[in-house]
């Protein structure tokens, strides 16, 4: 009904010239089938007019809803569909449930062990609930401290992502959320640290107040009523240090600080190594002890002995039995520190990974070309030995000339394989098999001059050109990577939609280069490419690439493979690309923000019952809208799987 209304509305405006209402009505509904049109034609003139006005009104409201839906998203237009939600969010939430379940089980298990375990009976009597809560939260902390390191082993995750034989696409999609998992474990560590510290505060007071005269070995205090501050031993001081480091790490990792001053975040987060070293010695000192001789001295038998002596002349046999069971005094032994069992594996793995990355990035790269693009963008082409990358991956740059310690991530925009043969003349003298060849990959990035580091980079480079006699002294560049990112999956869907906002087009530029080299080898059958920019000049960054790909696909008779839509969000001024060679772009250029719902509906209709991969790299507004749309109901049966680049 709504489509009919839209079409009749459009036709009404166009059909004014022909002036015949019957025709307008008829052609409006032929899209859905001739039967309805014929039946509509039998209506009376008055009814038709009324029907037309009603359709017009409906069409207008529909248009209003669509336009408001694209920017404001009123709740009524986007209904979350269970199927779409499960396809998009199911995996993540399953992992979350497993993690929560694991934590809860560990907490309850340890809690019950300390509250009902025979070996902790006397300790529990002295300390009460504080013992159980502190030990349970400690075990949860052990688990989370070991899990928190694993998502940060980026080289390992890149390797797992690259081995297609190992993991399915669903598992690789889970890898996109590794940083979120790291944050979740971090938050759990903070929360349970608070619980742990509070419970131990209560324990310390109980050690002082409920000083046990029966079992002196169990006590931590030296006498009853000792000042709790004096009872602190190694666990106490190490605990305070741990909380301080955690405090520094946590307060500098909020979104605001990371966005404005990444260095504070990075340097405080690298205190983790001190955190882990102190964590492993935290339990040394053995404040909490367990009973070792439960068979010889069943807990509670001392009290039974005392009470039975009070009852005179009753149950002599029972008394003998009980005295027999309680053969010796209770022996207590402190726990061995267990944290190292949990933590050492992931810690070693992470340290090995950092070391490997350091070694790999210690080779400086050679800069091959530098190109200046409009809108403050510099393209850098570099060369490095044994550098292998896949489209969609990113690297981390370090330029000592600008700042010794800052590292900035940039997505690769070009990867080319260049075989060079050294010393050709020598090869002619010897066998050709002895001719040394080097497999070098030139790779390129586009960086936008926006902050201090990129500004300094641009400045340093211009100085480097001027001081030609010693350019290498000033301009050394170190590259760490490449690391995997969600954009690598573009080729693994039948249909993909890539949405780029401004400089966020860089991951897709590499994808387009790869398609230009050979589009037949991939699973991808159709690519929709939407690029939204603020200014017209930004499109010139990749205008040649887009036109080249377009021409190639048309030449090879696959015009529907690559569907391009360019949008300029700033609507003032006359904007068009006048060059003849950029004709494919100027004819696909639209002014104004895209209407995402209509776009997804259109893609859905052309690709019914298919799984479309949606890749977004741009501002938060766009990715949030797209994510919501991907989760909502779709009448065409298409599932949209949303993948987002995390650092754009």
């Amino acid at each position: 009904m709504s489509r009919q209304a839209e079409m009749s509305l459009r036709v009404k405006c166009g059909g004014m010239k022909s002036g015949n209402g019957l025709r307008a009505d008829r052609s409006g509904v032929t899209g859905d089938g001739a039967d309805t049109g014929r039946s509509a034609g039998r209506h009376t003139e008055g009814g038709r007019a009324a029907g037309r006005t009603a359709l017009l009104a409906l069409g207008r409201t529909e248009a209003l809803l669509e336009s408001s839906g694209s920017c404001g998203a009123p709740e009524g237009t986007m209904v979350v569909s269970v199927r779409s939600w499960v396809a998009n969010e199911g995996g993540k939430h399953l992992v979350l449930m497993l993690w929560l379940g694991g934590n809860t089980w560990l907490f309850m298990n340890t809690f019950l062990l300390y509250s009902t375990g025979q070996q902790y009976h006397y300790l529990y009597k002295m300390l009460g609930l504080g013992l159980c809560i502190s030990r349970a939260s400690a075990s949860v902390l052990n688990l989370n401290c070991s899990l928190v390191l694993l998502p940060m082993c980026r080289s390992l995750l890149t390797f797992v992502r690259g081995t297609h034989a190992v993991s399915s696409r669903k598992t690789r999609r889970l890898l996109d959320k590794s940083k979120t998992f790291h944050v979740a474990c971090g938050v759990a560590i903070c929360v349970f640290s608070v619980v742990h510290v509070s419970a131990h505060l209560v324990n310390v007071v109980n050690f002082s107040v409920s000083y046990s005269d029966d079992f002196p070995a169990l006590n931590l205090a030296r006498y009853r009523g000792e000042d709790p501050k004096m009872i602190i031993l190694i666990p106490g001081i190490t605990g305070v240090l741990l909380v301080l480091i955690l405090f520094l790490m946590f307060t500098s990792s909020s979104y605001c600080i990371r966005v404005s001053n990444y260095e504070i975040f990075w340097y405080t987060h690298n205190l983790f190594i001190i955190f882990y070293i102190i964590l492993m010695v935290h339990m040394v000192g053995g404040a909490l002890k367990y009973q070792t001789n439960i068979e010889a001295h069943p807990p509670g038998c001392l009290r039974a002995n005392q009470s039975s002596t009070e009852q005179q002349g009753e149950d002599l046999e029972q008394r003998e039995d009980e005295e027999g069971r309680c053969r010796e005094d209770a022996h207590f032994q402190p726990h061995y520190p267990q944290t190292w069992l949990w933590v050492s594996g992931p810690l070693c793995l992470y340290c090995v990974e950092r070391f490997y990355r350091y070694i790999r990035s210690s080779d400086p790269v050679t800069i091959v070309t530098v190109v200046r693009h409009p809108c403050d963008v510099i393209e850098l082409r570099m060369l490095k030995k044994n550098f292998k990358a896949r489209p969609g991956q990113y690297i981390v740059l370090n330029c000592p000339g600008v700042s010794s310690f800052e590292n900035h991530p940039f997505t690769l925009t070009t990867i080319e394989c260049v075989f060079t043969c050294f010393i050709v003349t020598n090869c002619l003298l010897f066998n050709s098999s002895q001719c040394p060849t080097e497999n070098k990959e030139t790779f390129g990035i586009h960086l936008r001059v926006v902050g201090d580091w990129t500004g300094g980079f641009k400045h340093t480079h211009s100085l480097g050109l001027l001081l030609y006699f010693c350019p290498r002294c000033i301009f050394r560049l170190y590259v760490d990577g490449p690391f995997g990112s969600p954009s690598e999956e573009v080729f693994n869907y039948d249909v993909s939609l890539c949405v780029a906002g401004g400089i966020g087009v860089t991951p897709f530029a590499c994808v387009l280069h790869a398609l230009l080299d050979g589009w037949t080898g991939f699973r991808l059958q159709r690519l929709y490419f939407v690029w939204v920019c603020r200014e017209l000049q930004s499109f010139y960054w990749f205008a040649e690439l887009l036109c080249a790909l377009h021409h190639k696909l048309w030449q090879e008779n696959r015009p529907d493979y690559f569907n391009l839509k360019l949008y300029i969000s700033q609507t003032d001024g006359l904007q068009s690309m006048s060059e003849e060679k950029y004709r494919p772009l100027s004819s696909r250029l639209l002014v104004g923000r895209p209407k995402w719902k209509l776009l997804l509906d259109e893609i859905g209709k052309s690709n019914k019952h298919k799984r479309v991969g949606v890749f977004c790299c741009g501002p938060k507004g766009i990715s949030r809208t797209l994510h919501r749309l991907c989760n909502s109901a779709r009448s065409s049966g298409t599932t949209f799987e949303f993948n987002k680049e995390s650092f754009c």
Binding site: G14, G15, K17, S18, N20, R23, S27, V194, V197, S198, L201, V202, V204, V205, D227, P228, K229, I232, V240, V243, L244, F247, L248, F250, T251, S252, S254, Y255, C256, I257, V259, S260, N261, E263, I264, S403, E406, G451, D452, W453
Partner: protein
């Protein structure tokens, strides 16, 4: 190191420290530990520090992200004028508040954390930073361009009426091509 705004980090730390002080104080009061008066003080001090530190300052360079619902706190804090604008005052205030927390075990952590925050505030004050309120900006509409105000006074130039009228004899040129089929099928 670029342009690091220490005050931003100090603000996050002071807010977290206020919460830690508050939690420690609550535990101390609830457990009725010895010296629980210090814990009660810590509760009050923690609440005060949280209220003072909740509104974020406007950044000198770049976009500031306000905390949700901070507008009323901004107005209250702004009302104190130079007392809250100056970071030296804040540094010494936090240093003074944290001292009584050190006398009781439950609040020692809050005391140390607030002390660290006060040191960072001192560093920020030495660098010359100060607190600016984030106030909602009034939307200034773009001024209408000058040319719109003056509509054209004269009609556009047209050829004389005789040339404009199509000749009745020439039916071919007068025919109009319909973009859509007008026959009934």
């Amino acid at each position: 190191m670029g342009q690091i705004e220490w005050a931003m980090w100090a603000n996050e730390q002071a807010l977290a420290a206020g919460l830690i002080l508050l939690t420690g104080g609550v535990v101390g009061v609830a457990g009725q530990f010895r010296g629980w008066e210090f814990a009660a003080y810590a509760v009050a001090a923690g609440v005060f520090v949280c209220l003072l530190e909740y509104p974020r300052s406007k950044r000198a360079k770049g976009t500031s992200v306000a905390r949700s619902g901070q507008y009323c706190f901004t107005v209250c804090v702004k009302a104190f004028g130079p007392l809250t604008r100056n970071y030296y005052v804040r540094a010494f205030l936090h240093a003074a508040i944290c001292v009584p927390g050190g006398f009781m075990l439950a609040t020692v952590l809050g005391c140390v954390c607030l002390g660290i925050a006060s040191l960072i505030y001192l560093a920020a004050a030495i660098r010359g930073e100060h607190w600016e309120p984030i106030l909602p900006q009034k939307d200034t509409r773009k001024p209408v361009a000058q040319s719109i105000k003056n509509p054209p006074q004269n009609p556009p130039p047209r050829p004389p009426a005789e040339l404009r009228r199509k000749p009745a004899k020439d039916l071919e040129s007068a025919a109009y091509d319909n973009p859509m089929s007008v026959t009934d099928e």
